[in-house]
């Protein structure tokens, strides 16, 4: 006989304000099988858990139902509590009476009635629960970091420092990412390269870190602790082990008209090149589309001049497969395309630039060697207008609905740096709001206004047009209720940022969820902000949401801590809620294997007794519980119902249906 205990949580007033929790606990007492029912302010608190533990022991409970918040929140908490009291943790069911009830209903009677039904439904299910035991799987003590920007670098260094092997897969020819392109960092105005490049070098020199640059993740199999990842090493046509980074090839290359992507296309570079001076690895790469040798079959000058014989035009993409215990995704961002914003004339005017382009124009290693010259005529701009929120907070469909978070601060930085370096320059900033939460951030912004005299205009720009070689920026000044036009030499757009598009493919490979803006979804917005819902996958940097460098570095280190925690274990408990076939009913038809995304199902021949002393050999399905992820696709494909899912069995779900329909 089942002995069920029911615990109704008030969640302070979160539940109790709309659900009569005492009534629910009282009504439930008369449910068949229920021997104990209680309510308490905070079930998840230490006292609440104690209440549960005590009741389990005192009343010999065989299963418990907690009417509380979403199981996504505290299922694990209550399972642990049950386990501590000697009850199998899978004999716990949660009735979600907060998110699915008290928070969405206003009428107390209605919400209370629904809460009772939800609790009854959970009771119906828990009665059919079976004690489950988690299996174990070994942990490969190596981590993969996808993306070699500051997030990836920081995560890799922290993991490696803890003594675990780390591979960084970077799709570009060098690690460094966006931070390498930035001139100075707010709010301290440190030189970005000065603080980043030492970390890049650390990576290169770390004995535990293997940098796989110019590489992409091709396929991911397996599961937490046991990922098997295929990595495509793109052909760079230069032998990485031989190239010394002497750059002679770059000097000799006759095809020098390639757009320098590192400099945002503001100048050119040779077909064979090292992206920038401090690149890691400091190894050249050939742009095959630009290279004369590849286009015509003739040339081969770089090969001739290479002193170490590193040039290899025959190189092909190669694939390596490696095993990892954990994966950190740190794929970063890119500024959005501005083609939809023709009001700012970005496509038509060379002197309308993005902020990232301005970073390169102001960088000592940039196309102008750090002298701010406007792209059209190489003149010093005298009037510079910044436009904020270009494509951010835009629900019209052209841009992104979210705030890109970093623009306010970097625009203040740019304005400040320009005013400092070129005091004769007039700087205007059109803004909607200035958002500066963060340590020393608002002080920084105020310094731009108060100390450097940057002209902040509350209002938005309606159009930018070219009149006699001048950029006319027409916008509103809401404080004065005026429409103003500023004659500018240079217009800088604070373009919204979006996740690097390749993240979609990676998310699919990792079966990690992604939101409508292509940001990877964290497991819990507050409590598990660096973990993907897919076990063993962690998120660092802008791939998870807009953030600045300090936040990115913090998140990367947090990721590393999680990864280290995982890799420090020798064995992992596996999810016991896996598919399991009833062999006596299995037809061996192979339909289930056809829909299994994990290849968890195989078939074996087994002998069965038929009665009357007869036996029969039949082909039956067999599930590898370490590989099965418990989706249940196979259970529906199985016509005989031989395949069932532990923890979500057909009978359990049907009993829930019954309970809901029962009036």
């Amino acid at each position: 006989m089942q002995r069920i205990g029911v615990f109704i949580c008030w969640c302070g007033s979160n539940i109790a304000a709309t659900v009569d929790v005492e009534k629910v606990a009282e009504v439930i007492k008369s449910e068949p099988g229920v021997v104990y029912s209680a309510n308490y302010q905070y079930m998840c608190s230490e006292n609440g858990q104690q209440l549960i533990k005590q009741a389990i022991k005192e009343h010999n409970l065989t299963g418990i139902v907690v009417g509380a918040c979403s199981p996504r929140m505290h299922e694990a908490t209550f399972r642990k509590a049950a386990e501590a009291a000697g009850l199998n943790p899978y004999m716990v069911e949660i009735a979600n009476i907060r998110e699915h009830c008290s928070w969405i209903h206003k009428d107390m009677d209605e919400a209370t009635e629904k809460a009772v039904i939800l609790v009854r439904t959970a009771i119906a299910k828990v009665k059919l629960n079976a004690p489950l035991t988690a299996g174990e799987s070994p942990v490969v003590k190596r981590a993969l970091v996808i993306g070699g920007g500051i997030a990836g670098i920081q995560a890799a260094l922290d993991i490696a420092d803890a003594g675990f092997e780390v591979d960084i897969v970077e799709k570009n020819a060098t690690i460094g990412g966006r931070m390498a392109q930035i001139d100075k960092t707010f709010p301290t105005l440190d030189c970005s390269a000065c603080i980043l490049t030492p970390k890049m070098v650390d990576c290169a020199q770390h004995e535990k870190i293997d940098i796989l640059s110019y590489s992409e993740v091709e396929d991911v199999k397996g599961f937490v602790g046991n990922f098997s990842v295929t990595i495509r090493r793109k052909a760079r046509y230069v032998d990485e082990t031989k190239c010394t980074g002497c750059k002679i090839c770059m000097e000799k290359c006759p095809s020098k008209k390639g757009l320098n992507t590192f400099n945002m296309g503001l100048n050119t570079r040779p077909a064979i090149h090292i992206p920038f001076a401090q690149a890691i690895p400091n190894v050249a790469v050939i742009d095959a589309e630009q290279c004369i040798k590849f286009k015509t079959g003739k040339c081969g000058i770089c090969q001739k001049f290479c002193g170490v014989g590193a040039i290899d035009y025959e190189q092909k993409d190669s694939f390596i497969e490696r095993q990892y215990g954990a994966i950190v995704v740190a794929t970063g961002f890119k500024p959005i395309e501005l083609t939809a914003f023709n009001e700012y004339g970005y496509a038509d005017n060379k002197d309308v630039i993005t902020s990232l382009e301005l970073e390169r124009l102001m960088n000592a290693a940039g196309p102008t060697n750090g002298v701010l010259l406007r792209p059209s005529d190489g003149q010093h701009p005298k009037v510079i207008t910044f436009i904020q929120c270009v494509g951010s907070r835009d629900t019209s469909g052209c841009g992104k609905p979210y705030c890109s978070k970093i623009c306010c601060m970097y625009t203040a930085k740019h304005a400040m740096l320009i005013r400092e370096k070129y005091p004769d320059t007039e700087v205007h900033v059109f803004y909607i709001d200035v958002r500066t939460p963060g340590k020393n951030y608002d002080e920084f912004y105020r310094r731009a206004v108060e100390q450097y005299g940057v002209d902040y205009i509350k209002g938005m720009v309606g159009k930018v047009y070219n009149e006699n070689g001048k950029l006319m920026v027409q916008g509103s000044n809401l404080i004065d209720n005026e429409q103003i036009t500023i004659e500018s030499d240079l217009v800088v757009l604070a373009a919204a940022i979006e996740p690097e598009p390749s993240v979609r493919k990676i998310a699919t490979l990792l079966t990690a969820s992604i939101d409508t803006n292509n940001f990877l979804t964290e497991s819990h917005a507050k409590l598990r902000p660096v973990e993907s819902p897919t076990a063993g996958v962690y998120l660092a940097g802008v791939c998870q949401g807009p953030k600045d460098i300090p936040e990115t570095v913090s998140q990367a280190s947090a990721c590393a801590a999680k990864v280290i925690g995982l890799l420090a274990k020798d064995k992992l408990k596996t999810n016991p809620c896996v598919a399991t076939p009833d062999e006596t009913m299995c037809n061996g038809c192979s339909q289930c294997a056809n829909v299994c995304a994990y290849g968890a199902i195989t078939y074996v021949e087994k002998e069965f007794r038929l009665g009357g002393g007869k036996t029969e050999i039949r082909r039956v399905a067999s599930v590898n519980p370490a590989v099965c992820q418990g989706c249940g696709a196979c259970t529906v494909t199985c016509p005989s119902g031989a395949m069932d899912l532990k923890g979500f069995s057909s009978k359990q779900i049907m009993s829930e249906v019954d309970a809901i329909c029962k009036k």
């Binding site: 008369s30 449910e31 068949p32 009665g611 009357g612 007869k614 329909c661 029962k662």
Partner: protein
């Protein structure tokens, strides 16, 4: 003897329906089965064999036995069968001789102690109007069981030809029903009926199965029959479906199942078939593990076990439904022929 003009039959049905339920062969969705007569129903008395036999009227395919009403932890048990009383009398109209005989077979089961109150109540409430056969078909073999298809029993016996339905009451119930409908009747028809019987008898005697020999199916031969090696071969093509059982007028096995409702649980019974693989499933397992055993059981029961317990009354009436309806054309005739032999041979 009375007669009713064919074109006035609808009036007859309407008259009966005024005070009683009338179950009669009706063509519905392309098939003829016993149904409650309603204005506009497409009555088909000419149909020799309804798909389902009229046993359905006394022993429906599904009926509730008891209810468990649950409220919280309390369970109230309601025995819906105990004091069951059919409230409205009803007339079962157009029953053929074989099906009427089948009711006799069922009576021995359901009216013996412990009496099935549902069955008893319905039997008592029913007036059976039989209809003589005039056009038997090749699958008919009621004669083998001593049934006269041209003069069935029942509370009222009727005969049908192109013009009239001839009516003869046999019992008190029959007389009562006759009294109800006298306005529609006229006297006469004895000669026509006698003539029809003669013609039909001649056809019956020459039916292909008329001379089936049942003499081997005796309790003495039980073991030999049981062990006969032919069962294996005879049952090989059997699909294990319940068609033969469910169309059979004498099969009376049922299963008891529970059904969950909003109020609690309904315990009901429903026809079961000995051809089903779970028929004899018990807690310990299943005593019949092969289709051969199930197949054998069905025919041994009809031809040996049942007669041996019921004064030689066979539990087959030769209606031939299984002959027509078995998907793979297996049937009792093939069994009798294989294990029994023909009188003439």
């Amino acid at each position: 003897m009375l007669k009713i003009a064919k074109e006035r039959l609808n009036e007859l049905y309407a008259k009966i329906s005024e005070t009683m339920g009338l179950f009669i062969p009706v063509n519905y969705a392309g098939e003829v089965n016993y149904k409650v007569w309603k204005e506009g129903a497409e009555v088909s008395l000419e149909t020799l064999k309804t798909v389902k036999s009229p046993k359905n009227m006394f022993f429906p395919q599904t009926e509730n036995m008891m209810k468990f009403k649950t409220e919280g932890k309390n369970i109230e048990i309601i025995d819906v069968r105990k004091d069951y009383k059919e409230e409205k009398p009803f007339v079962l109209f157009g029953v053929k001789a074989c099906d009427y005989k089948a009711i006799e077979v069922l009576d021995k089961v359901f009216l013996a102690e412990p009496v099935d109150t549902y069955y008893q109540s319905r039997r008592e409430a029913t007036t059976i109007v039989t209809l003589a056969c005039s056009k038997p078909e090749e699958s008919c073999f009621c004669g083998v069981f001593g049934i006269d298809a041209t003069a069935p029993q029942g509370d009222v016996t009727t005969w049908l030809d192109g013009e009239y339905l001839y009516w003869q009451a046999n019992t008190e119930k029959g007389e009562a029903l006759t009294a109800l409908i006298t306005a529609l009747t006229e006297e006469g028809g004895e000669e026509t009926v006698a003539g029809q019987r003669e013609t039909t008898k001649a056809v019956l005697e020459n039916l292909p199965f008329a001379k089936l020999d049942l003499s081997r199916f005796t309790p003495e031969n039980l073991n030999d029959l049981f062990e006969a090696k032919e069962w294996e071969e005879m049952s090989e093509a059997c699909l294990g479906c319940g068609t033969c059982t469910f169309v059979c007028p004498t099969c009376q096995c049922f299963d008891i199942r529970d059904f969950k409702t909003n109020e609690g649980v309904i315990r009901y019974r429903c026809w079961d078939s000995c051809m089903y693989s779970d028929f004899t499933l018990m807690a310990h397992g299943n005593s019949r593990t092969t289709q051969m055993q199930r197949f054998r059981q069905r025919f041994m029961h009809k031809l040996v076990y049942y007669p041996s317990q019921n004064d030689g009354l066979y539990s087959c009436v030769g209606c031939g439904r299984c002959v027509n309806k078995c998907p793979q054309r297996l049937n009792i005739v093939k069994v009798v022929k294989t294990l029994g032999g023909k009188k003439d041979d």
